[in-house]
């Protein structure tokens, strides 16, 4: 199990950002390597995400379930991805805290990887993951700066609980 965490400062208030983080179209635009996202129910998403480290470039079919969504402060997602000879499972949570200038988004993810990418090691994956997450937040921020409309469409799945299989 690998843990990643970080934070991001936004100039926009949590109430506004929330719409962006819960709009599948916005997520599809901003998630690195994301081809498309389909919303399968109010709290379930399916996506295709290609991530590359060097020449190792698996394309994952990812299923995400939103297990907690407390507008506008807390979002928890349970996701799993499968690619040829690679897979991962993750529980990712994000906390939006209002600040004088906007919002601080604190994020934290616990990830279990298996297959070829696991052989890259935690340090290598960590440095790449941090970069990808930062890209994601920067892209969301840019859309919010431009005033691109966002529509909150994701709700928490009732009675769902996030947990990684050991």
């Amino acid at each position: 199990m690998i843990e990643f965490s970080g934070d991001f400062e936004s100039d926009h208030p949590p109430e506004q950002l929330w719409n962006y983080f819960t709009d599948p179209e916005i997520l599809a635009q901003c998630a690195p390597g994301c081809d498309h996202i389909e919303q399968e129910s109010a709290s379930e998403l399916a996506a295709t995400v290609a991530v590359g480290v060097g020449s190792v470039k698996p394309t994952f079919d990812v299923d995400m379930v939103v297990v907690e969504a407390d507008r506008p402060t807390r979002l928890v997602m349970d996701a799993g991805g499968d690619a040829s000879r690679n897979s991962f499972e993750t529980v990712a949570e994000m906390h939006l805290v209002e600040t004088a200038d906007g919002t601080t988004a604190d994020w934290h993810a616990e990830v279990a990887v298996s297959g070829l990418i696991a052989s890259l090691g935690q340090r290598a994956l960590g440095s790449v993951a941090e970069r990808l997450v930062t890209d994601f937040f920067e892209d969301v921020e840019a859309l919010a700066d431009e005033g691109v409309p966002a529509d909150s469409q994701i709700r928490a799945k009732p009675d769902a609980k996030a947990a990684l299989d050991d």
Partner: protein, 296 residues
């Protein structure tokens, strides 16, 4: 093992290459000498659908040295750079980095662009180009851009290069390095010739007057390989020796700065503590050689 099946493309021009990349994007890998990718593919760590071999794109090979700039084509081999006397006269760090890569068979085929794009944390050119503050020139079907080497390497084997982009050349501004007053060195610890080094240090120093009793360093450059996830530029080590005549105190301070900045991943043959120590020691050795060369 043998690689998974792939489609092989062999463009002959930069235009043809970037058109292919625009079409294939994420599903293609560039082959720039094939000293790493073939192995990774044979182990099936990578299984690209398409290989775009740059070996026939002649416009990418060769180097030029003019009064202001040194320009290296991305498909220039380590072997060519190793024996480039005109380069050695003006940016000695480049041929010295090239000549220490693996063994002769690898140097005959491996290329500067391939090494930069691979971005192995132990690679020689990435550290050298960060030290020299080189610029990387990237081309795609609809854009050209220049990225400083210091901004290009982002994370472990992860760069600013987009899937549809090609590195065409590397340029180095000669202004900070007048040959008569400059010395450069690329020193590395390698347990066997064919392997990646454990730690490397690329340094350059420019002195005020090489004929003075104690020439003073006007400007220094220090970058290390394989002590972080990306090539490590160490400005504090540069500051430590600037204004000095590379006395022991200045060297100690530079080595301490490198030790402080180092954040290496342990490897089977070298643990973290050892690599941190090497970061300091090779900074010291490399600076000493560079200073000797600047003042001779």
């Amino acid at each position: 093992m043998k690689p998974a099946t792939f489609e092989y493309h062999r463009p002959t021009s930069i235009d043809e290459t970037v058109e292919l990349l625009a079409e294939l994007g994420h599903d293609a890998e560039l082959l720039a000498g094939n000293q790493s990718l073939g192995i990774i593919m044979a182990n099936r760590l990578a299984s690209p659908d398409n290989l775009v071999d740059l070996g026939q794109v002649e416009a990418l090979s060769g180097w030029t040295v003019d009064g202001d700039v040194v320009e290296l084509g991305a498909m220039t081999t380590h072997r060519d750079l190793e024996f480039a006397d005109d380069l050695r006269e003006v940016v000695e760090m480049v041929p010295e980095a090239a000549e220490q890569i693996a063994g002769p068979s690898v140097r005959n085929r491996g290329t500067v662009g391939g090494s930069v794009a691979e971005a192995d944390p132990a690679g020689n050119y990435p550290a050298a180009f960060v030290a020299l503050d080189a610029d990387l020139h990237l081309t795609s079907a609809d854009d050209e851009r220049t990225v400083p080497a210091r901004d290009f390497f982002i994370a472990y084997m992860f760069t600013d290069l987009e899937p549809e982009e090609l590195i065409t050349r590397v340029t180095i501004d000669r202004a900070p390095f007048p040959p008569a007053r400059t010395g450069m060195a690329f020193e590395e610890l390698k347990r066997a010739a064919q392997t990646f080094p454990t730690v490397s240090a690329g340094t350059a120093v420019r002195v005020d007057d090489p004929d003075a009793d104690e020439p003073t360093i006007e400007e220094a450059r220090v970058a290390l390989a394989n002590v972080a996830e990306i090539p490590l530029h160490v400005p504090d080590a540069e500051t430590a020796v600037e204004g000095s005549s590379l006395d022991d105190d200045a060297l100690d301070e530079a080595a301490a700065a490198a030790t402080e900045a180092a954040d290496p991943s342990p490897e089977m043959h070298a643990d973290e503590e050892w690599k941190v120590e090497l970061a300091g020691e090779y900074t010291r050795r490399s600076l000493r050689t560079a200073y000797d060369r600047a003042t001779q």
